[in-house]
Amino acid sequence: MSIALRGIGKQFGEFAAVQNIDLDVPTGALIALLGPSGCGKTTLLRIIAGLETPDEGHVLFDGRDATLWPIRDRKVGFVFQHYALFRHMSVFENVAFGLKVKPRRERPAPKEIRSKVQSLLELVQLGWAGDRYPAQLSGGQRQRVALARALAVDPDVLLLDEPFGALDSQVRHELRRWLRRLHDELHFTSIFVTHDQQEAIEVADTIVVLNRGRIEQCGVPSEVYDLPTSAFVHRFLGQVNELPVQSRGGRAYLGPIDISAASALGTGSEANIALIRPHEIEVGAAASGWPAVVVAVRVIGPIVRLELCAEGQPANEPLEAEISRERYEGERFVVGQKVGLRFRRWQLYPATGAAA
């Protein structure tokens, strides 16, 4: 089922949770709504599910206006951040719930329910846990039960509200991959909410970045990561170094590096800011580039993070650069070493809009 949002707006008292949202989710897509807390991503998801009613705009399911449809008629599976399992029911009963509450005409026979629930439990690798109660399961297991429960009613859309937010990173990583596989196997339309950019990049086909109730950018993960259209998106999708652009004699500089030739933006008098990702900084011999001193070296598995104090920059705001482990093994940077910096890539934004 495809979902379309047209001009969706929702106020909570004085606070505008979402404003004028337009979004198209094609059938079978796996979309991430990404943003900081309070950006409206959960509200948007709840509007699609019918758990909130938008003040303005329309929700279209396959082109039909579903804005005011009751929750139970929407055929959406919803997975809550804190699982929202029925505590007094066993795992089996939890998963069977959606089938047992169907009107008598549509309700499968008890035998069918039994086999369907069992196969769903196998699918989420909890075939052994049917008799357990939610309180007896770990967080990751509970969330898998919640998923099986949502899938039991064959939803056209699966909505997940920070589904892995409350889990530890190992389990989270496993469940992400598992969700991706499940999506590829079952072909439903999925929308999930997250504040974790890595999760969004790893799992989704399309990322929708939200900020203050509006869509900042929408695109495939690599596009959103590499070509952010605003400083906000650039900052939110990973680590960045921020440097002011100085203009001297009609030319633009980052420190001593002349960037006029390579940048379309900002040779004028307006103040600009350059955002540079850690892996876009090239650390070389002291004689080349912007002179800097290594102030910290941290080996993080396959990468090595260097903190560098560049000449003329405040000492309490070192730049962060990432180099590969292999390169580090060869060159052995040490604290106090003098190096020269170059920038492989950077992106300029007007400084006024940067203060988000």
């Binding site: 139970r72 919803f78 929202a84 029925f86 007094h88 719930f97 009613v153």
Partner: protein, 293 residues
């Protein structure tokens, strides 16, 4: 391999260390348990055993004769029956009151919330007089009910009304915190799974409320069984018809029939205790179905 084995042997030679007791964060189990026992003994156990001991003065035959007298049996039946009905009414309507107070906001909600406690605070005689004035054949409500053939004051129905009045806060106040703690997301989950409002209520909300409802029922019931002040005004107190057991006890006391009075008291005590025990067991069963908690 030899060295660790030797080290192990040395360990087994020394006397086993005393078993370690699990330590809580707050100490003082012994002290607080002792206090609890003394307190309960002074306030509950000793006075109640005095009742038993006193009634023993009757001897078995006489005791049996007193408690099986038709007037006593009728009063006991009325006391427990009316209390049961009143508690059941309170469970249903107390649930609605608690639900409204927790789930909705409306003008003067705090005031309404405070009103629930009035039956706690009011001297029960005041409640009895007020209810009697209201439901008497010439009272505000009574005069409208009379043409319909419904007599409330001076009948068992009036007793039920009074007992419902005094029992209401128990149900409301035990349910309120539980309702506030209910996870709304669980109801929303039920809705996304296709459950109707009624199905959500019966299958998802009620199971979470059972233990609290039982507690509220037990408290309201216990309070009603022991109620005296409000009932005697509205009941009319006709022997065999509208005379409650506590009144009969007082009547016997006034006739200096202490042993007879305590005999009835003993029967009430045993019945009440048995019922409370049963309700507790039921509650334990309801709670244990949550699995691991």
């Amino acid at each position: 391999m030899a060295a660790p084995a030797a080290a192990f042997e040395v360990k087994t030679l020394s006397p086993p260390p005393p078993p370690r007791r699990a330590r809580g964060v707050l100490p003082g189990f012994g002290l607080t348990l002792g206090y609890t026992m003394v307190y309960l003994s002074l306030l509950v156990l000793i006075p109640l055993s005095a009742v038993f001991i006193r009634s023993l003065g009757l001897g078995w035959g006489h005791f049996y004769e007193v408690v099986t007298a038709p007037r006593v049996v009728a009063s006991l039946r009325l006391s427990f029956g009316a209390s049961l009905i009143a508690a059941l009414i309170n469970v249903i309507f107390g649930l609605i009151v608690a639900w409204v107070l927790v789930r909705y906001t409306f003008p003067f909600k705090r005031l309404v919330d405070a009103m629930v406690d009035l039956p706690f605070a009011l001297p029960t005689a005041v409640a009895g007089i007020a209810l009697t004035a209201l439901y008497a054949p010439n009272g505000w409500l009574g005069k409208w009910l009379l043409p319909l053939g419904i007599k409330v004051a001076f009948t068992p129905l009036g007793i039920v009304v009074a007992l419902t009045f005094i029992g209401l806060p128990f149900v409301v106040r035990t349910l309120q915190p539980v309702l506030e703690d209910l996870d709304r997301e669980v109801e929303q989950a039920a809705a996304t799974l296709g459950a109707s409002a009624a199905q959500s209520f019966v299958r998802v909300i009620m199971p979470a409320l059972w233990p609290a409802l039982l507690t509220g029922f037990a408290l309201a019931f216990a309070r009603a069984v022991g109620e005296y002040g409000s009932v005697i005004f509205i009941a009319g107190n006709m022997p065999m018809k509208s005379e409650i057991a506590p009144l009969l006890i007082v009547t016997k006391l006034e006739q200096y029939d202490y042993a007879g009075a305590t005999a009835i008291a003993v029967v009430m005590l045993v019945l009440s205790f048995g019922l409370m025990l049963g309700i507790n067991a039921l509650q334990h069963w309801a709670l244990s179905r949550h699995g691991g908690r």
